[in-house]
Symmetry: C2
Subunit: 116 residues, 2 copies
DNA sequence: AACAATACATACTTTTTAGTAGGTATATTA
DNA sequence: TAATATACCTACTAAAAAGTATGTATTGTT
């Protein structure tokens, strides 16, 4: 007998779920963190900071973060183009949480080191 | 011209990435949160607490959390079977972070309410 | 006139994650 | 003896996320 799925609607009623949907992507946490560390980063700088990301995923992820109002996108109409990214206020509010998560991760990584 | 991907290895060197990999699943955050709220939950109770999860995903997610040492699994050899889940110490350490995230989510949900 | 620099866009494929549908085991109770 | 309760398992499919490859635009520089 299989579980009924109650069609949990688009509108997440659970705030934990809500939050995870916005920051759960493969690169979102890191992007937010680096933007916090550097205040402002250009598109290309971000790409170099995440050496494993492709331009497609970088652009796509930045767009999603922008739509969710976590980052600002400032375009300079120059040639060659220049676009700066930074955290919004709402995005900044996530930093204490990412900080905590990062500390946890650091500690875990250390523990894993010790095993070897 | 496309970005080179530097084959970011299995071993995440970035602790933000490391952490997100262990709690990034669709249901992981909520499971950890509910286990924190109730201290101990049985398999079926967890299922009822997450009305949108299937038994397959519930089992699978619990196994992953167990492997990552975030939850304990205690089996009672009875019939019908009884299995209790609870947070490990390491899992507990994630709670302040989930709490923060939850508060952020609550605030955002409120803000979105106001728009309507 | 070709090239560099920068920030993308897009079609398509692959991989990963999640969902469906069905099944198992066993002591207890009706 | 058949139903009940609980905690799973497994093969298969579908959907979502990520990756590959290639292309565009513009202006200053060589």
């Amino acid at each position: 007998m299989q579980k009924k799925r109650k069609e949990c609607p688009e509108v997440a009623t659970c705030s934990v779920d809500y939050a995870f949907r916005r920051i759960g992507g493969k690169y979102k946490g890191r992007i937010l963190w680096y933007l916090h560390e550097h205040s402002i980063l250009r598109y290309g700088e971000l790409g170099r900071t995440l050496p494993d990301i492709t331009t497609k995923m970088l652009t796509q992820t930045l767009r999603e973060l922008e739509i969710d109002n976590l980052i600002n996108r400032k375009v300079y109409h120059e040639v060659p183009p220049k676009v700066e990214y930074s955290l919004t206020e709402v995005g900044e509010e996530l930093i204490p949480f990412i900080t905590h998560l990062k500390e946890w991760g650091d500690k875990q990584l250390e523990r894993e080191q010790m095993k070897n």
